[in-house]
Amino acid sequence: MTTKGATQPTAAQPRGLDLSTESTSRSIAEPSTAPLTGTAPLTGAVEAILADSRQQAARYVGEVVVPREAGE
């Protein structure tokens, strides 16, 4: 119940896009395998995640805050 000055975006023009119906592909029961296992040595990605998680953790956590009633 408020006035908002929403900006009206300009519609993009499709340029040579493939607009046919969705393609069929492999069965849902044949996923790619996940090479990460709990017993494997730490991979580079996991090490990078852990290093990042130590950096300014409190600041990051403080940035993920939504208005109290937003999801209600």
Binding site: A11, L19, S25, I28, I49, V64, P67
Partner: protein
């Protein structure tokens, strides 16, 4: 001998996802933009990437050429969340594809939309202070049968005077507000001219200085509170009546049949969470669920089954129309499940949708007539979701005490028996069954083999690698940033390193960022938006209708479920006379699927 042909993976389904916006300014001394400003930036950037059309709705939003929508889920004028709604889909695989397309489209647009800082979306269900939001599932289903359907419709007739009363009270409220702003404006102008103190008065009465342009207009806090109280008081009689009616008659069989499945499914599709006391939970949202049935926010309730869309139908989708109300009389309505985590792992998200859909199909086909009954379901839900050992017992009314995995296996076996009676069942239904069984086996025997496939397992692994001495802030950052939709997000980093399981091809997801799914009302919506957005005939859209402005006239194109139309027509052909007396047209669903 085979049972009658049942509907399997053939109903309209969809997901709504509330994303938490995170903004990190380049200049730390500057203020974080208001979330409405972030929404505006996102909407503009989306409009550069694909055709969009403004929503004709009481919420601020835009429909996309993919058939889905972006909404600003607001608390007030300037604070809220970004919500993405997938187009209406048919199969779980299709829905997973368009959900992932939406995640990619919105997250890439968010990052590109701001140059004054890093704007990213977090696809989770709790912020760092414990506020609950996140994912909702929608399944088109039969609202009631027989005497319960009669009672549902009779109840709708009985509460109709309350609908009219609410509409009148809303009109009076608008008139009162208009009168207030007129009087306050005149007072402020007078004070400004005579006393040169108009600005302070304007701030109190109008929430802004009269000539202050450029900033969104926010009501004064005191006025917002008064309006909110008056609005809720006006709505209370209708809301109470609707709650009682829906609770007594709507989706009774489905709610009963689904409850044990939902109470136990965190073991398969929980996203994992570190709470404020540093305890690990299997699921992000479950502990925030505070009732089994509710409207989802009217009284700060977080229900498992939400009837909020029934109440919103009374408001009118695009204004003071009663069409939404009359559509509640249809036999097929939207069943909304508000329990469910925003998954990052494709297998977890797929199983969340597919297993629930398969069980709905089985229940509607008359299977699962006597599902187990959970004693103290809400408390049990909380216990199951907080037990990573998977040993928590679920107390049943018959004295049984199965674990969540055993309850899941009960449903797995029931669905297998159901599919064995349905030779026409699509391959995907059987594939779902196999994936479900494999997942339960792995959870029982070696959960660590589900790294990259089940979110809680993956998140628990990362937390374990951080070590027992890790501070809460670090553990919480792992919990939250796992869900960040950007190259810095932890799930994304694992995916980029090839360490998560993928069910979908890259090409499929990319297509879902551009085109709508086929054979759905979204196909027509997306086609019209692509054709008319930015053209000479201004277009607006809703879940049920396309509005094309042609001169002074507005052309309305109803978005119907073409497949169900065809099915209803072909069912009528052999025995047209009988069919005319049947209630088959009620099966036709052309109401708004989302709100």
């Amino acid at each position: 001998m085979n049972a009658p042909r049942a509907e399997i993976f053939d109903r309209l389904i969809g997901l709504e996802t509330e994303y938490a916006p995170r903004f990190s300014p380049l200049d730390p001394t500057t203020e974080t933009p208001l979330s409405y400003s972030l929404y505006e930036s996102l909407a503009v950037e989306l409009g550069r990437r694909l055709p969009t059309a403004p929503a004709r709705h009481f919420k601020e939003g835009r429909f996309l050429a993919t058939g889905g929508a972006l909404w600003f889920e607001s608390v007030d004028a300037v604070n809220g969340l970004m919500e993405g709604a997938t187009p209406e889909c048919r199969s779980p695989r299709q829905l997973l594809t368009w959900q992932r397309g939406q995640d990619r489209l919105l997250s890439e647009a968010a990052i590109a939309s701001r140059h004054d800082g890093r704007f990213t979306l977090i696809k989770n269900d709790r912020d760092s202070r414990g506020a609950v939001y996140g994912a909702q599932e929608n399944y088109e289903a039969v609202v009631a049968r027989g005497v319960w359907l009669f009672l549902w419709r009779a109840g709708l007739v009985a509460i109709f005077p309350l609908v009219l009363l609410y509409r009148v009270s809303l009109l009076l409220l608008y008139l009162a507000m208009s009168g207030y702003f007129l009087a306050a404006g005149l007072l402020c102008v007078t004070a400004s001219v005579l006393l040169r103190r108009g600005d302070a008065l304007s701030q109190v009465l109008l929430g802004r200085h009269m000539l202050d342009e450029g900033e969104p207009w926010v009501f004064p806090r005191w006025l917002s509170v008064v309006i909110s109280i008056v609005e809720r008081a006006n709505l209370a009689p209708l809301a109470v009546s609707m709650y009682v009616l829906a609770r007594l008659t709507a989706f009774r069989q489905l709610r009963r049949g689904l409850l044990p499945l939902l109470v136990s499914r965190a073991v398969v599709c929980g996203a994992g969470m570190v709470d404020e006391q540093d305890r690990f939970h299997l699921a992000d949202k479950a502990s925030g669920i505070n009732c089994l049935v509710g409207f989802g926010g009217f009284l700060r309730d977080h229900p498992l089954f939400s009837f909020g869309h029934f109440l919103k139908a009374m408001f009118g989708e695009g204004g003071f129309t009663l069409r939404g109300y009359f559509e509640l009389f249809r036999r097929r309505q939207r069943l909304q499940i508000a329990l469910g985590d925003s998954n990052m792992c494709q297998r977890a998200e797929y199983l969340r949708i597919a297993t629930t859909l398969l069980v709905i199909d089985a229940i509607e086909a008359g299977h699962l007539r006597r599902p187990p009954r959970v004693v103290r379901a809400l408390r049990t839900l909380h216990r199951v979701a907080s037990d990573a050992s998977l040993n928590c017992e679920i107390r049943l009314s018959d004295g049984g005490r199965p674990t969540a995995l055993e309850v899941q296996r009960y449903y797995l076996n029931a669905c297998r028996r159901f599919l064995q009676t349905q030779p026409q069942a699509p391959d995907e239904a059987w594939e779902t069954l196999h994936l479900w069984e494999d997942t339960l086996d792995q959870l029982e025997e070696a959960p660590q083999t589900l790294l990259g496939a089940v979110d809680w397992v993956t998140k628990l692994f990362l937390l374990g690698e951080a070590g027992v001495d890790a501070a809460w802030e670090q553990r919480k950052k792992i919990d939250l940033r796992y869900h960040e939709l950007s190259p810095e997000g932890y799930h994304r980093r694992l995916a980029d390193a090839g360490q998560v399981e993928l069910l979908l091809d890259e090409e499929e997801i990319e297509r879902a960022t551009r085109i709508p799914p086929s054979d759905s009302p979204a196909s027509t919506r997306g086609r019209y938006i692509r054709e008319f957005a930015g053209g000479l005939a201004p277009i607006r859209a809703s879940w049920s209708t396309i509005y094309l402005r042609r001169g002074r006239a507005t052309q309305r194109i109803r978005l119907t479920d073409a497949r169900r139309d065809r099915q209803a027509r072909s069912a009528q052909l052999p025995e047209r006379r009988e069919a005319e007396q049947d209630d088959a047209p009620d099966d036709h669903f052309d109401g708004p699927f989302f709100w």
